[in-house]
């Protein structure tokens, strides 16, 4: 008994203190995947805020955006032109979704819209496989002038390795999130988006166009998906398996709150760092592999205490 308590409560911290450079390395890895989780979660939050729809298709949008980029490049389009074309593809997707999926379903219960996004997921999987085939592809990291080297940082008698692509991912994610935050805080369209999020009927009655707002948030979510796709793709491959990773956004959202942009970021970091540390320092006790489910476990525990998430709007029902 005492030995188990020692393994859980004391030994991991001893290990952290003994090899501080390794601990920093784990933290950094966790931070980077946390940032990427946050990016995916951000895509969900944008759409959920504006329309109350949980967009199941966000994961496949990440894959679809990355596949289009690589696919276009392989077809001979220069890298940056392909990137620009991908932005246009995401715009087309947003307009198409708004016109063909959301508009006919306006005023339907949220669950109907949710199911429509599941349908959209399978449609995009099929379309993606039809156009680009099912094999994993390699992200065109260098062609997009993203750095591929690494820095080594000598610290406390050891080394911490920073992959430059990870640094770039963190920087791009932070820039993207800041830009979106400023946009939604300070512009007319941002204000309209928050208005729509608060009350559809009232927004319509002051002449805010739901259709326009929906198209804009789906476009924004598409851009976020493209950025996520490039970054994830650069760390692994571009394949349909990526959309499973996107499901990691679920515990992030439970943690951060479905309606909060800062919540998505903080939630993403907690999950990213938490699961790396958990895996390395506690996972070995039960044979490893806890990275796969630890995030869901944290989220579940969190749900019991604070169902609205860290930053979500408190759910108050008048009776």
């Amino acid at each position: 008994m005492g030995e188990i308590l020692y393994l859980i409560l004391i030994d991991p911290f001893v290990q952290m203190a003994e090899l501080p450079d390794f601990f920093l390395q784990v933290l950094w890895e966790g931070f980077v995947s946390g940032i990427l989780y946050a990016l995916i979660a951000l895509g969900f939050v944008l759409i959920f805020k504006a329309s109350g729809v949980f967009n199941f298709a966000q994961g496949i949008m990440v894959v679809f955006a990355a596949l289009s980029l690589v696919g276009l490049y392989e077809a001979g389009v220069p890298a940056f032109l392909a990137l620009a074309l991908c932005v246009l593809i995401m715009l087309g997707l947003a307009l198409g979704v708004e016109r063909l999926v959301l508009r006919p379903l306006v005023n339907q219960p949220d669950i109907i819209l949710f199911m429509a996004t599941i349908g959209l997921t399978y449609f995009l999987i099929g379309l993606g496989e039809f156009i680009f085939g099912g094999e994993p592809k390699v992200m065109i990291t260098e062609e997009l002038l993203l750095p591929t080297g690494s820095y080594a940082w000598e610290v406390m008698g050891g080394l911490v390795i920073f992959q430059q692509i990870d640094i770039a991912a963190a920087v791009i994610a932070v820039v993207l999130m800041t830009a979106l935050g400023l946009f939604f805080q300070n512009t007319r369209i941002g204000r309209a988006l928050r208005a729509v999020a608060d009350d559809h009927q009232a927004a319509l009655s002051v002449g805010i166009s739901l259709n326009q707002i929906w198209a804009i948030v789906w476009f924004a979510a598409g851009i976020v998906a493209l950025a996520t796709g490039i970054m994830w793709g650069a760390r692994s491959d571009v394949s349909f398996a990526l959309q499973i990773v996107a499901l990691k956004a679920l515990p992030v959202l439970v943690l951060g709150g479905l309606t909060s942009v800062p919540g998505a970021i903080v939630g993403g970091l907690i999950i990213g760092v938490g699961e790396k540390i958990g895996e390395i320092y506690w996972g070995s006790m039960i044979g490893g592999g806890i990275e796969g489910w630890l995030a869901y476990f944290i989220a579940l525990a969190f749900l019991l205490v604070r169902p609205q998430g860290l930053f979500g709007e408190r759910i108050i029902e008048r009776v």
């Binding site: 007319r188 204000r191 928050r194 009350d199 319509l204 009655s205 002051v206 002449g207 805010i208």
Partner: protein
């Protein structure tokens, strides 16, 4: 009936209320087998304060929702600014100059008073997504220009002190006022007020009545309001439509409506 005594500034006005802004003819609205409105005909003239009154369940809110485009009547025609309206929805209604408030207050609760009122300018601000993204330059100038107009409205309704407060935290009476400010920011030609004084105490009611009159006088906004407090309406409106069980039982000046036997019966409850 004299719940309060309101003197119109400048005494009783005699204006030319000839130009018809909105005309309804033979409007009927059904929900399944329920007749919410049957064969309603009346008009709203430019510059007047028009009240729609009636006991609970008379169809007042349905009437407002028809004008606002939220409901489509099965029968009847609606002419807005002289042209017959076909398919309607709240967005189209707003973009052709109809603003409204809601009975249960539909503000954007998480946003400040200022942002709520600014959102009323949605239709007036035309810089597109591109300039919004660039942010500085034209979109910024436009924002400032509209901000000036919005500040005027905020001053006018005496809500300067709560400009930065999230409206969800405000007391009920002030929320109603913010909602009026948001509707005014649209600079509507026709302003629909759904029970603007419901749930208010006497003092708040007097303030609201004063604001409604001043809006009408100073901005020349045509106002159609619903109330079931008959006293307020008698002092406030130029002409009154009385509904009961979805039918129109009277239409005319307060003096005329007050004397109609059908109106007295409806309010005092006579067996139908």
């Amino acid at each position: 009936m004299g719940l309060m005594t309101l003197e119109r500034p400048g005494g009783k006005r005699r204006r030319h209320l000839d130009e018809v802004l909105l005309a309804l003819e033979g409007v009927s609205l059904r929900f399944g087998g329920v007749n919410a409105l049957s064969d309603i005909s009346f008009d709203i003239r430019k510059g007047e304060i028009r009240a729609i009154i009636g006991p609970n369940g008379a169809g007042k809110s349905s009437m407002l929702n028809v004008i606002n485009g939220f409901y489509q009547p099965q029968e009847g025609t609606i002419r807005w600014k002289g042209r017959e309206r076909r398919r309607m929805n709240p967005y189209l209604a707003a973009s052709t100059g109809i603003g409204r408030t809601f009975q249960n207050i539909a503000l954007f609760k998480g946003m400040s008073t200022l942002d709520n009122v600014m959102s009323g300018r949605a239709l007036k601000m035309r810089r597109g997504l591109f300039w919004q993204l660039v942010w500085i330059g034209p979109a910024r100038r436009e924002e400032i220009e509209h901000r000036r107009r919005v500040e005027e409205i905020i001053d006018f309704l005496e809500i300067e002190h709560i400009r930065r407060t999230p409206v969800g935290k405000l007391p009920y009476g002030l929320q109603k006022r913010v909602e009026l400010a948001r509707a005014l920011a649209m600079e509507p030609e026709l302003l629909l007020l759904d029970e603007p004084m419901a749930g208010m105490n006497l003092e708040e009611k007097e303030d609201m009545a004063r604001f409604i009159l001043e809006v009408n006088e100073q901005f020349g906004t045509t106002i159609a309001l619903i109330e079931h407090d008959i006293g307020v309406v008698m002092d406030l409106s130029d002409r009154i439509v009385v509904l009961d069980y979805g039918r129109m039982i009277a239409d005319g000046t307060p003096q005329k409506v007050r004397r109609e036997q059908a109106v007295i019966d409806a309010y005092l409850g006579v067996a139908h």
